[in-house]
Structures are given as structure tokens and as C-alpha cells.
């Protein structure tokens, strides 16, 4: 049987979604700030690709390699909409759309974890 890494994957996606939510919050909060450029997180596929296998320390002489999970970089949004004369590129409608997307994905994510957990418990039941 393959080792189950769904929980790890799910928690990584949940983390990515919450980073995205905080990027959206920053954009909405600065919707009227002159010169502010809208930000977004890099796509989830890219985050998964950057995840390297972490080495575990099995001997007291081992130096623990950085085991921190993959960094999620927040960059300025590329698909820029019309920029206002104040050099602000935030579109509130766009951000609301993205927030809805994040909410739906998060709901899907937690539901999958829930049902997987239930299946997991089923195998443990006598």
C-alpha cells in the first residue's frame, strides 16, 4: 500500500488558500491607495513543484536541513485590468470573484479531508 499523503497535500492547499485570502484582503484594503499594484500568490502547481523532499536527521551528528514547507511567494498580479489615473490596479469585482473562488476551494478541501478522515476511521473500527 502506498503511503497516504492526502492529508499533507490537503493541508498544503489549505495553507496556499489562506495565503491567497490574505493577499486578497491586502488588495481590498488598499483599493483606494494611490500607486498600489494588486498582488496574487503564485499558482498552486508551482508551489507543489517547488516542494523538495526534506531530509530527516537520523543521527545526532546530522544537521537538520531546512524542513520548512515550500515558500509561497506573493507577486504582483499579471492579468492587469485598466489602471486608474492614481496608478492603482485593484478591481474590487475581480477581488470578490477571487475570494469566492477561495471560499469554494476551501470548502471542497475541508470536505475531502472530512470524508477521508471518516474512511480512515472505518478501517480502524473492529
Amino acid at each position: 500500500m502506498q503511503p497516504v499523503n492526502l492529508f499533507d497535500l490537503a493541508s498544503q492547499q489549505a495553507r496556499w488558500l489562506s495565503v491567497r485570502q490574505s493577499a486578497i484582503a491586502g488588495n481590498v484594503a488598499n483599493a483606494n491607495t494611490p500607486g498600489y499594484a494588486a498582488m496574487d500568490v503564485e499558482p498552486f502547481e508551482k508551489v507543489l513543484k517547488n516542494t523538495s523532499v526534506a531530509m530527516s536527521a537520523t543521527h545526532s551528528g546530522h544537521i537538520l536541513a531546512s524542513t520548512s514547507p515550500a515558500r509561497m511567494t506573493v507577486e504582483t498580479e499579471q492579468d492587469g485590468v485598466a489602471i486608474l489615473p492614481s496608478k492603482n490596479s485593484v478591481s474590487l469585482e475581480d477581488q470578490m470573484l477571487k475570494a469566492g473562488e477561495v471560499g469554494r476551494s476551501f470548502e471542497l478541501n475541508t470536505s475531502i479531508v472530512k470524508s477521508f478522515h471518516r474512511m480512515f476511521l472505518m478501517t480502524a473500527k473492529p
Binding site: S22, V28, N32, V102
Partner: protein, 138 residues
């Protein structure tokens, strides 16, 4: 601080900035007729507000804050009120440089941005409670 808490705090900073803006608008509207009381005196000068983004290095969130509340330097309109105590030799009174239409538009925009920030707060709260629900026994 996790990202969802950061999202909540950032949205709260947006709410704070927009409510400051509404305050400035209400000050302008309340003083739209505030003239001086000596001949040729300066009337109320319209206030303006600007925002700035402040990046918090610890959490990575970009908070919105009020950069400056300054004064509108545009010219005062003159109105003919010969009996007014602030009237000059020609009977002209300098009125505040407040334009109702501009203030209303400003208020609408502040309202819209405030609502958007509230929506983000609601959503972040929903996400947090969805996560907590994972611990609930099915």
C-alpha cells in the same frame, strides 16, 4: 501569525482607513457653509485624505493606513451677501471650497470599499470556522 488572521487584520485596517475617509467627508459636508465672521475672512478649507500601503514584514500583509489629511488649496467661490458679517467692501463673501457632488461621490466610494472589506472579514471568518469544523466529530 497565520495567514487567515493576517487577512482579518488587513481587512480591519481597510475598514479603519475607509471610516476615517467617511469622517473627513462628514466634516466637509458639515462645514459646507462655514464662513468667517470678519470682513474678507477665510472660510472653512476643505480637507482631503490620502492612503498608503504599509507592508508588515512579520506577517507579509499589506495594511492600509491613512497617509495624510491635508487641505484643499483650491480657490474659494465668492457669493454676493451684502448684509453678511464676512462680506468685503463689494458685498462678496468667501464661501468654503466644498463641492457637494464631489463629497457625495467620495462618500459612495468609501461606502463601496467599506462593504468590500466587510465581505473579506466575513469570508475569512467562514474559512476559519470551516477549519475548526474539521475537529468536530461527524
Amino acid at each position: 501569525m497565520d495567514s487567515l488572521t493576517t487577512a482579518l487584520k488587513v481587512a480591519a485596517s481597510g475598514l479603519e482607513a475607509q471610516s476615517q475617509r467617511v469622517r473627513v467627508v462628514s466634516e466637509n459636508l458639515a462645514n459646507a457653509q462655514s464662513t468667517g465672521n470678519t470682513p474678507g475672512a477665510e472660510p472653512y478649507q476643505r480637507k482631503t485624505i490620502t492612503f498608503a500601503a504599509a507592508l508588515d514584514r512579520a506577517s507579509g500583509g499589506s495594511f492600509a493606513e491613512v497617509a495624510e489629511i491635508s487641505r484643499d488649496k483650491s480657490a474659494y467661490p465668492l457669493e454676493f451677501h451684502p448684509g453678511h458679517e464676512a462680506a468685503d467692501a463689494n458685498g462678496m463673501v468667501r464661501m468654503p471650497n466644498v463641492n457637494m457632488l464631489v463629497e457625495m461621490a467620495d462618500m459612495r466610494e468609501a461606502n463601496r470599499s467599506y462593504e468590500a472589506n466587510l465581505q473579506v472579514v466575513k469570508q475569512a471568518r467562514d474559512l476559519i470556522s470551516m477549519t475548526i469544523d474539521l475537529m468536530r466529530s461527524q
